[in-house]
């Protein structure tokens, strides 16, 4: 009976594959890539989270010891990293979103040379992170950096920027504006999808430009706002950029830039504590998943096209 049933399934599967094998072939590289580079490491990191593994000797099963250490003896330190990451996320996401939205509104006009400004603002996004890290390091170099020369030209005192614990996080947040062009391009794409007749009707009804922004542009691009918000949360919570531009192993002065992703990296590849790092990575995954779920739960304000 069982073999008859499984024979039926195999036959049915073969039939489905036969009828659409070209499609299967097309998606095969994607499926293989997902299994090799996502599914296997995903499962492996979950197993390693319950092991003591230094990447040199065979791993030893230790149960929930890694999680226990994170929530007891290491809690203060780990929370410190989460706190820095949350501060970064809560400041950089809204400010970056607002500024890129504002820029997109400015650049969504039909005036000569607008393309040049769009390219100019988008340009930083195509510069490799290593190259931009070197530039930022130079800009914020204490004493001789360009930024200090600028602030001193205005009669303000020079700052240590990335070299001081009190200013390092704000400097990193300021640097996140470098990627405004990426968000701006998405907003512009969203604006292009808003039917022009809505604006015409609003104009006929006497709505001002500001009113049109609040009543048409923002609601009609809310799906893109939501998409950028989700992406911003995921990206900010995985912030790793400080690793490229600060000393102290990417932790910054007095661990002021010790983002949770930097901590995971340090634990895994500097302290060779891969099991512990895997446990931390799963906690981060859980936090990001919760934040995303919360955002989805409160996303009734988002307007998708099919609702029309």
């Amino acid at each position: 009976m069982v073999s008859l049933k499984s024979n039926g399934i195999v036959k049915k599967s073969l039939k489905v594959i036969k009828s659409s094998y070209t499609g299967w072939l097309f998606i095969m590289p994607m499926i293989l890539g997902t299994i090799l580079f996502c599914a296997i490491p995903f499962v492996q990191s979950f197993i390693l989270a319950f092991m003591d593994y230094d990447m040199m000797r065979p791993p030893q099963w230790i149960g929930i010891e890694n999680f226990k250490a994170i929530f007891t003896v290491d809690f203060r330190e780990v929370w410190g990293s989460f706190r820095i990451t949350f501060i970064y996320a809560f400041i950089s996401i809204p400010v970056t979103m607002f500024l890129s939205y504002f820029l997109a509104l400015l650049l969504n006009r039909k005036i000569p040379g607008m393309m040049f400004f769009r390219v100019l603002i988008y340009l930083p996004c195509i510069i490799p992170p290593i190259a931009s890290a070197i530039v930022w390091k130079d800009i914020f170099a204490p004493q001789i950096g360009i930024m200090n020369r600028i602030v001193q030209a205005f009669g303000l005192p020079a700052s240590d920027w990335l070299s001081s614990a009190s200013s390092a996080l704000m400097t990193i947040i300021f640097m996140s504006f470098w990627g405004l062009g990426g968000g701006m391009i998405l907003w512009l794409a969203a604006f292009k999808n808003i039917p022009v007749d809505l604006y015409e009707a609003a104009s006929l009804d006497g709505a001002s430009k500001l009113r049109q922004i609040f009543s048409i542009t923002i609601p009609m691009s809310s799906a893109m706002i939501f998409y950028n918000l989700i992406n911003g949360v995921i990206g900010s919570m995985q912030m790793f950029g400080s690793f490229l531009i600060t000393d102290n192993g990417g932790r910054g002065p007095d661990n002021s830039l010790y983002f949770i992703s930097v901590r995971i990296y340090q634990e895994a590849f500097v302290s060779f504590n891969m099991g512990y790092a895997s446990a931390l990575a799963w906690i981060l995954f859980f936090v990001i998943a919760c934040m995303s779920a919360l955002l989805f739960k409160h996303s009734k304000w988002v307007f998708y096209g099919e609702d029309m």
Partner: protein, 470 residues
């Protein structure tokens, strides 16, 4: 259709789980475990080995291999270069566990990661090879500088076995821009100068800078007389030791909360607050903008004949003729221990524990510290670890970056040689954290971020927390 997709998904997940679990729980054999030690293989021995080195060393390594093949023509030596060897070694090792032969037989040990690699049983114990080579005369024990040789030994483990072969000798020196001192009318110090004399020179340079700002000379623009690298482990640890400070006892307990640490910190802080150096600013001597740089050999060996960026209006471009080398000053500051310690270190090469060609690999390692190898390796950039080559007045290393410099400064007073090893005895899981805590403590102390007492207490607290984790 839905059922089939679900089954495919389920199958893929099960496969991933099985594959991942198999990778986590597998045990492995060592293919080279039973190969007998032969520290003097015959010249016609045939084999193939791979040497992994840093990208910056690959050209030199190929020249050494060419020389090596004149002695051992049948040993094929391949090379691999990686910018970050530490991570690569772990990757290679894990690949080798599944497919023996995937990891290079010899690799560069640049940083202090070798202690972790030794603990992880990735490094082969070279002691039998070293002892056999000393006995059969292929290595001359008396000719090797002991201060460097011991860095390849595991002094942090009771057995003290040899785990890597150091290939160069390097220690901090004072590189002085003699043109700046001469133009400011400051006499050049004696070779056995003291920190008190050094501070006086820095004061005069600082005052001279202030007088000369109107001249707009490039070297007066920063107003900082020296680059001291006080934030570097090698410099700061030697300074603390000179004040009689040890960071940890033999049981890894912190013992630095004392008056000597405060005195050392006060001294370094006084250099910063007086404006003689800036711990945030690593201005190299080659910029032509600092009078003194305390650094090790890499700071000068690649110096170009001329540096168009650093132009002296009165004397033309900054050149290597503007600098000379002095030994580090003798510690004579009030409150110091009266003994001088100077930061130093080495790089070297180790053998992979699972190599199936240990004897051929040893022949190559031994060759790396031979006279023939030094003639080509680094073309004089590296200071040999052989006394005979160090003392040779015509040795290649004495000619870089120019002849006539006081190169003796690099090898003088070997008894002062002090590697930054304060964290090496710590358990591997907290070693890097301990290292960072101590570096941060020093930085906070000398920059005055917090009060010195608070800085030290904070560091003790952090160290104790890390110790509680193991």
């Amino acid at each position: 259709m839905n059922k089939i997709v679900k089954m495919a998904l389920c199958g893929a997940l099960s496969f991933s789980f099985a594959f991942a679990a198999a990778g986590c729980f597998k045990s492995y054999e060592n293919p080279g475990a039973n190969i007998a030690v032969d520290a003097n293989i015959s010249k016609d021995y045939a084999g193939e080995i791979t040497v992994a080195t840093g990208a910056g060393y690959i050209a030199d390594m190929r020249s050494v291999i060419e020389e090596f093949n004149k002695e051992y023509p049948n040993i094929k030596v391949n090379t691999q270069a990686q910018p970050d060897l530490s991570e690569s070694i772990l990757r290679w090792h894990n690949a080798d566990l599944s497919k023996p032969g995937s990891c290079p037989d010899i690799f560069l040990n640049e940083g202090q990661m070798w202690v972790s690699l030794r603990e992880g049983e990735i490094l082969k114990d070279l002691t039998p090879y070293v002892n056999a080579s000393f006995e059969n005369g292929t290595l001359d024990k008396e000719d090797i500088v002991p201060e460097i040789w011991r860095l390849g030994k595991d002094g942090y483990k009771e057995d003290g076995n040899q785990y890597f072969i150091p290939t160069n000798y390097d220690q901090f020196v004072a590189i002085i821009n003699t043109t700046i001192l001469t133009q400011l009318g400051i006499p050049l110090p004696d070779k056995d100068w003291t920190w008190t004399e050094c501070v006086e020179i820095l004061r005069r340079v600082k005052d001279g800078y202030n007088d000369l700002v109107s001249n707009s000379l490039p070297w007066s623009q920063t107003g900082i007389p020296a680059t001291m690298s006080l934030q570097s482990d090698a410099m700061m640890y030697a300074m603390y030791k000179s004040f009689g400070v040890e960071f940890f006892d033999e049981n890894n307990q912190p013992i630095f909360d004392n008056a000597n640490t405060r005195k050392a910190m006060e001294f370094m802080k006084s250099l910063v607050t007086a404006g003689y150096c800036n711990p945030n600013l690593e201005l190299p001597i080659a910029s032509g903008q600092v009078a003194i740089q305390f650094q090790s050999r890499p700071a000068i060996v690649d110096m170009q004949e001329e540096s168009p960026q650093a132009e002296f209006p009165e004397t033309g471009y900054f050149t290597v003729n503007d600098i000379d080398i002095w030994p580090m000053p003798v510690m004579d500051v009030e409150g110091s221990s009266g003994q001088t310690y100077v930061g130093g270190g080495t790089i070297g090469y180790a053998m992979y524990s699972r190599t199936d060609e240990p004897n051929a690999a040893w022949a190559f390692l031994r060759f790396l510290i031979s006279e023939k190898a030094y003639e080509v390796y680094g073309s004089g950039k590296n200071i040999p670890i052989l006394k005979s080559m160090q003392e040779d007045e015509n040795a290649l290393w004495r000619k870089l970056p120019r002849e006539g410099m006081y190169q003796e400064a690099f090898i003088s007073y070997p008894e002062r040689f002090t590697p930054a090893s304060f964290h090496m005895g710590m358990p591997s899981k907290i070693r890097s954290e301990i290292y960072n805590i101590m570096i941060q403590m020093n930085l906070d102390g000398i920059k005055g971020t917090k009060g010195i007492d608070e800085t030290i207490a904070d560091a003790v607290k952090k160290v104790n927390y890390q110790l509680s984790r193991v």
